[in-house]
Amino acid sequence: MIGIIVAAHGEMSKGLIETSRLIIGHSENMATVDLLEGEGPESLRDKLKKAVESLDSGEGVMVLLDLYGGTPSNVSALLARELNIEVVSGVNLPMLLEIIVKRASKNLKELRQVALYAGREGIRSINEIVEKIESEIKERP
C-alpha cells in the first residue's frame, strides 16, 4: 500500500490526520512529520527520511506539505532525488481524503494528479455558489 505522510509546520499534520479518521475511519500506513519551533532543516530531513523508509513497502510514499517554499518543502525537494516519493504542497482536507480513498487503485504518479485536482477542487466560494443558485431560481419563468 502506498504510504501517506503529512509534513507541516507546528501540529497541523496531527489535526489533519485525526480529522480524516473522524470522516473515513482508521487508515493504515500514514504518518505525520512536524516542523517544531526552533527546529532546523537537518533534523526535519532525518525525521522525514525515517518516516518515508518506515512507510515505503515498495510502492512509494505520498508526501503532502502545508506550504510551498517552506522548510518541509525544501527538505523534501532534496529527498525526492533519493527516495520514491511524490511531494505535493498546499495540503488540505479534501486532498488528504481523496488520496486515502484512491491510493489502493492508483499508482504513485497517478496519485500526484489526484492530489493536485482534489486540493484545487476543494477550494470554492460558497457565496458564489449560493448567488449562482439564487440567480438561477430568479430566472426561472
Partner: protein
C-alpha cells in the same frame, strides 16, 4: 442440394445464435444502473459519503452517481459531496465494467442500510 441448403440455413442460424450471445456479452459489459432513495437522516454528507466512496473504490468498474442530471465520479469524495444529496433524495448509481453488477448491489445495500446510522 437440399441438404446443402439446410446445412447452410443451419449454419446461418448458428451464426445468428452466436451473434445473439455476443450481444448478451456486450450487454453485460455495458452500463447498468439502479435508482435508490437516501433513507439516512443526514444524506450523503461527509461520513456516509466516505463510506460510499470507499466501497466504490473496491470495484474495478467505472461508477457514477447521478442526482437530477448532475453526474459525478462515485470514487471521489469531492464528487459525491458536491451532489449535496439529502435524506429522501433519489440518486441513480451507474456502473460499467466486469464487476458492475456486484458494485451496484453492494452500493445499493449500503444506502438501504442507512450507512449503519440508525
Amino acid at each position: 442440394m437440399k441438404s446443402l441448403r439446410r446445412l447452410n440455413q443451419r449454419s446461418k442460424r448458428g451464426h445468428e445464435a452466436n451473434t445473439d450471445r455476443s450481444r448478451t456479452a456486450m450487454k453485460h459489459l455495458s452500463e447498468i444502473k439502479q435508482t435508490v432513495r437516501l433513507l439516512n437522516k443526514v444524506g450523503l454528507h461527509a461520513r456516509p459519503a466516505a463510506m460510499f466512496v470507499q466501497t466504490a473504490n473496491t470495484f474495478k468498474s467505472e461508477i457514477k452517481v447521478d442526482k437530477e442530471g448532475k453526474e459525478v465520479d462515485a470514487k471521489s469524495i469531492l464528487g459525491i459531496l458536491s451532489l449535496a444529496a439529502e435524506c429522501n433524495d433519489e440518486v441513480t448509481i451507474k456502473a460499467n465494467g466486469e464487476d458492475a453488477e456486484d458494485a451496484i448491489r453492494k452500493l445499493v445495500d449500503l444506502v438501504n442500510s442507512k450507512f449503519g446510522e440508525e
